[in-house]
Amino acid sequence: MSKELVGLEIDGDTVTLVEVKDGYAQFVRVLSTDSLSNSIKLALAGYKLNKNEKAVRVVFSCPGTNFRVIDVTATLKDRKNFEDAVFTAMPVSRDSNATSGIFFTPDEMVGNMVSKGIAMIAPALQVEEAYQALGKIKSELVSPPAVFTGLDGIWLSVKNQTTDVTLVDQGRPVAYRQLRTGGLDILANKVGDTITGREKVYSALNRNAKVEPVLENEIRLYSQNLAIELRQTVDYWARSNENVTSKINLIGVGANLLGISEALFDQNFTIELNDTISKRVTQIPVEDRARAISAFLATMTAGDDMPYVSYVNPYSLAIAEEKKRRDKRAKQYILGMITIGAVALATILPFIFENSKLKELEKNIKQSQSEFTSLSESFDIYLDIERKKALYKELKCDQPDWKETLAIVFTAIEEVRADSGKNVTVNEVKTGISDDSLKITFTSELVNGDSDDLTTMLRKLREITGVESAWSDSFTYRDGKANYSISFSYKESLLEGSTVTNNNSADELCLTEGVK
């Protein structure tokens, strides 16, 4: 299924749109409003230009466009190198001009091989304004010679702003010139102001129209000048060994201007539109055909010789830059959102989970507390018992076995008495706590006692469990009686090994827990 294509020509504030289907111009629309932007918008109204489709080629005619054939090498495929080469070939201000070009044999641009190409420049400001007016439309702005590739001959284009001539030889545009005579606006300015003057000139585009003598005279002068300048140009090209011909492809809004054909005939030119092109525009009105040809050719050559044939779109670069910035901001925003989301997931979810768990626990503890309230009296009994137990344990269980000290003393005495057969009596027993053990000192009296008896007594004491040490404090002998003062230290528990007769649960506490 074929699809219609559109091409544009911008000529000052006038926009010409041609719709092409199956290689034939179907429709032409010419718009001239107060601004180029509005003209473009109105011209393209009703067309859906898909971003993914080919760019719309726009032929851009403006004064100051220049042309030069240049030598090209592979290095010029770099846009910056290409621009350097163009501005070297054409010594004009780099700041105020934009560049475009065509490499005739791009496949031969390998290594240091030199081939041919053309370079074109146009005022940068006008290029930028044109792109700005085109806005977001995917477009490629080219100078007039770029659309004549493959169409040998001389192409004279009489437009509102400019009149230019392109020479195409062997399919390549090899020469181009904007004529000093200028476009129809020069003529219009001579017969009125911008609007009325143009209206008057446009009225003279109809060969049957009646034209004021003054205007007729101006048109004649204009046409003659134009034809003379064209002759001079063509002759110059001929002298420069270009392959020129006397046949002129006359196109543009001014092609129908009253008297122009005659003026060209006078300069030995013949007017003959390229046969192929002529056939391709038969479906549009006769009076619009000549002015539609540039836009038609723009449609047919869209995408050819790109990207160098098109002027760089500073506006789209700015848009791309802005888009890049927006994308970067969007990326940062998304990254930020992801970060926040991840942090939220890592924080809020645990927070919600822990919080709900906490609430459940708070509920549980309230329930447990209320259940426990009814049991608290019984629990108080438990607490009282435990407290008293602890007190009892602390105060009682560490007590020394006092009665055992007496038993030790008297047992030792009895054993000495039994061993020696001597009469032994205990006169005094003193007890007291020294450090962690009991210190017991006793005095005894032994009839006919001697040091051996003392030794026996100390040995007996030391043999008793719990006695850590035993020693003699003093020994005297008077009136047949020996008096001993003996001490020993003892470290036995209150209850262990004692003769507890009436155990109760309190004393069992010391026993069961092994507290000394």
Partner: protein, 185 residues
């Protein structure tokens, strides 16, 4: 490394640095926020869980008390008699007097006056009183008397004693302490 390789490395570092930094930021922020908001709740939850478990075990204990109420009350009464809430000084004198009499010991110096002892080593809330007494009796009686002191219904501890022979008998100078848990309401 070639120029291209260096560029690739730089790009790789640039491309991987941001995700790593983002991950670090996420990790740090999550850690900080968790520490600030989640951890305290977790801690509170743990404390509540511990308290619930304590209440549960207390309930089991309380239930056991209810199941053995009379026995436990007896046990409490026993400990209360050992270490009563009030000093009950006349009662302790009477207990010691009865014990001495039951062991055929004579008070040598009449009824002693208990002295309150200020002892910082005692557990909080516990007060103690000291009694110094002298008894006359034979060895067996004195031995039984000292033995019985450890098993009195009121807890008594011996601080020291001295035994002196005196005309066929013994004189026992003994210093005793008894206790009360004066509960502050």
């Amino acid at each position: 490394m070639s120029n291209r390789g260096s560029k690739v490395m730089k790009k790789l570092i640039k491309n991987s640095l941001i995700p790593v930094l983002v991950l670090l930021v996420i990790g740090f922020a999550a850690f900080e926020l968790n520490a600030r908001f989640v951890t305290p709740i977790k801690e509170k939850g743990k404390n509540l869980e511990r308290d619930i478990n304590l209440i549960k075990s207390d309930k089991i204990i309380a239930q056991e008390i209810i199941n053995n109420l009379s026995k436990k009350k007896e046990e409490l009464a026993l400990y209360n008699s050992k270490i009563p809430d009030t000093p009950s000084l006349p009662e302790i004198i009477e207990i010691i007097d009865n014990l001495a009499k039951s062991n055929s010991l004579k008070w040598e110096s009449g009824t002693p006056a208990p002295q309150k002892v200020f002892d910082e080593t005692l557990p909080q809330g516990v007060s103690s009183w000291s009694i110094g007494s002298t008894f006359i009796g034979d060895y067996v009686n004195i031995y039984n008397f000292i033995n019985s002191l450890t098993n009195l219904e009121r807890m008594v501890t011996i601080e020291s004693f001295t035994l002196q022979r005196e005309q066929g008998s013994f004189r026992l100078n003994i210093s005793l302490r008894f206790y009360a848990e004066e509960i502050v309401q």
